[in-house]
């Protein structure tokens, strides 16, 4: 399949890539930049939330509850207050985000079994609020379970009639580390952005600089030109995949639990869609700027509807349907499952089929539009 015409195109493409320092820098540095941006800055993990406490009970029991909150690592008790006005002022000024109110009769009600505490949350930052709320619930549940166990022991009941246990288990990513979620996403984003932009511009550049006129009169066939033009970017796409995987694994500790062959094969499948989009865009553009704009027009909605930033389940029905047309959606599911869950092919087969269909359709459409002519 590698005839001399194709390999000459490939060699020429690599020479041009190497001679264009800006493109080369974009290829190598952009993934690292995005990786660190999304690995650190865009983290949705919330830790060290400032908390104010109004302990009206001031007993051993209430102090033990506070200790449980402290130990959870999510909260830092910064303020002890003695009125509702005080914590309200703290929350309004933004000095603290959470207030915990322990009632005066906490001790007595704990023994009666219906102890209640009040959590006041600043909901203006939804992600902080949500994390604080869920963590507070977890702490509360865990703590009450401990107390119930303690009571059971005191009253001499056997463990067979132990109080109801609340199981809270987070699978695959027990620390809810958002890097686990984001870094596979970065692979998908980089693959779709860089490869589609590069393929579109490399083809359009031939047209813009007039070199296409010389290429046209050579006996090279359209499909050979397409293959020769795309293959270097397939290779670059794989280099970038490995680059992101390695940094993600060694620096951010993202696990690689699935089979390496499956990761490579599905990434290659996704590259086909992404290169197809680039090729398609190149048939619609006459200048490199136009090509860039066209690719962006495809890619931006793709990124937003892929479930990378916003969960698809939370989208309006209409957009959920649209998202079925987006190859990145399938690839994100595949790569996250492969890396984090370590699933086999059976678990991702419908996504793989969707990628195959999309890749063949877009490649086919682009190849049909691609003409080795000036008009």
């Amino acid at each position: 399949m590698f005839n001399s015409r194709i390999s000459s195109i490939i060699r020429k493409e690599f020479l041009q890539i190497v001679r264009d320092p800006r493109t080369l820098a974009m290829i190598i540095v952009m993934p690292i930049l995005e990786l660190f941006l999304l690995g650190y800055a865009a983290t949705t993990d919330v830790r060290n939330i400032s908390m104010a406490v109004w302990d009206q009970s001031k007993t051993t029991q209430s102090r033990a509850l506070l200790e449980a909150f402290r130990a959870a690592d999510y909260f830092v008790i910064d303020y002890f207050v003695s009125s509702a006005d005080e914590y309200q002022a703290l929350i309004e000024s933004g000095d603290t985000r959470v207030a915990l109110v322990i009632p005066p009769d906490y001790d007595r009600r704990l023994i009666e079994g219906d102890a209640q505490v009040l959590m006041v949350l600043d909901g203006s930052d939804a992600s902080v609020g949500a994390t604080a709320l869920s963590t507070a619930r977890l702490v509360g549940q865990a703590y009450s379970t401990k107390i119930m166990n303690g009571q059971a022991l005191l009253s001499g009941r056997t463990s067979s009639s132990a109080p109801v246990e609340v199981h809270t288990q987070v699978w695959y990513n027990p620390d809810l580390n958002s890097a686990y979620f984001n870094i596979p996403g970065v692979i998908g984003m980089i693959l779709s952005f860089i490869t589609s932009i590069l393929t579109a511009t490399t083809i359009v550049r031939e047209r813009e600089r007039g070199t296409i006129e010389q290429l046209i009169v050579t006996p090279i066939r359209s499909w050979e030109l397409i293959v020769g033009k795309l293959l270097p970017y397939v290779i670059l796409g794989f280099i970038e995949t490995f680059e992101i995987l390695l940094i993600g694994h060694w620096w951010f500790g993202v696990p690689i639990r699935g089979s390496g062959i499956l990761i490579i094969a599905t990434s290659g499948l996704f590259l086909m869609s992404s290169l197809g989009i680039g090729l398609f865009a190149s048939t619609m553009a006459n200048t490199q700027q136009e090509a860039m704009m066209t690719v962006m027009m495809f890619n931006l909605p793709m990124i937003f509807l892929s479930g990378f930033f916003f969960p698809i389940a939370a989208m309006p029905k209409f957009l959920q349907i649209v998202s079925y047309l987006i190859p990145l959606r399938y690839y994100l599911t595949i790569i996250r499952s492969l890396l984090i869950k370590g699933v086999g092919l059976a678990a991702i087969q419908s996504e793989v089929i969707a990628l195959v269909i999309f890749g063949v359709v877009i490649m086919g459409a682009a190849a049909l539009r691609f003409r080795k002519r000036l008009d």
Partner: protein, 315 residues
Amino acid sequence: MTNNLVEAKKLHKNFGHVHAVNGVDLNIKSGEIYGLVGSDGAGKTTTMRLLVGALKPTQGEIMICGYDLEKQVELARSTIGYLSQRFSMYEDLTVLENIRFFAEIRGLSSTEWLPRSMEILEFVGLDKFIDRRAGQLSGGMKQKLGLASALVTRPRLLLLDEPTTGVDPVTRQDFWQLVIKLVSGHEGGGVSVIISTPYMDEASRCHRVGFMKAGKIIAEDTPSNLRARLNGRVLELRGSPINKLRHVAHQDVDVEDVAAFGDKLHVRVRAGQADLIMKRLPDEIKAAGGTLTDLRIIPPALEDVFIALSESNHG
């Protein structure tokens, strides 16, 4: 099958409502240099692009070296070397890398391309610059690189679209020497050349010239036959003031055109009227207050013919 390298019949190419090429027939023999001339927008470049299959004709058929350009396009192209009007080598690749790329893509093997490339680069005089980036070559050297790249696979037909536009006279001369060597058999032998040019001195070097206007070839002949069309119809005038002479000559009913060539005027007159005009023009100039120092019939230049053809109402 005839021995024509190129046979184009009733070529038409429309861009929307514009008829860029409007019924062109071309027959090019082996070893012939054919010049395609005409003003900008006459359809020269479009014709060239049709002949190499870069554009698809709206109508008409083209045979190149016996191959149907539509049905056997890759075979037909393997016989063509094409130098487009716009520089179309890769500026970020070196001279040798460019030649290698186009040699290999046209089917030269890994053992063939290097000796062949060096041979052709020596032929065009670029063998000292093989490691220079194409973008850093001078205008003339760029054209020679383009020519080398077109020649590297020993094509039987060479199409050169305004190869010397914007190139200095010395390099133009060099370039033509190369073309003439090619056709006379130094390189391969029997190569046919179709060259489009806006320069009349270049047109007069061609074996045959086709004059294009509004998408049609309105005259086609050898340069001497074309010149013969105006035999005895071109007068040369010298005198002063030159603008007065020009004005007076224009007034004469039998004068078709007056063109200034430095300190002299070329006056084209109606067929058979030259002698009469020779008699009355000196009097007319004197009456207008001008001085005539020289007036004679001269052999027409190709330029005179083309100006005449450009103004004619053919097509």
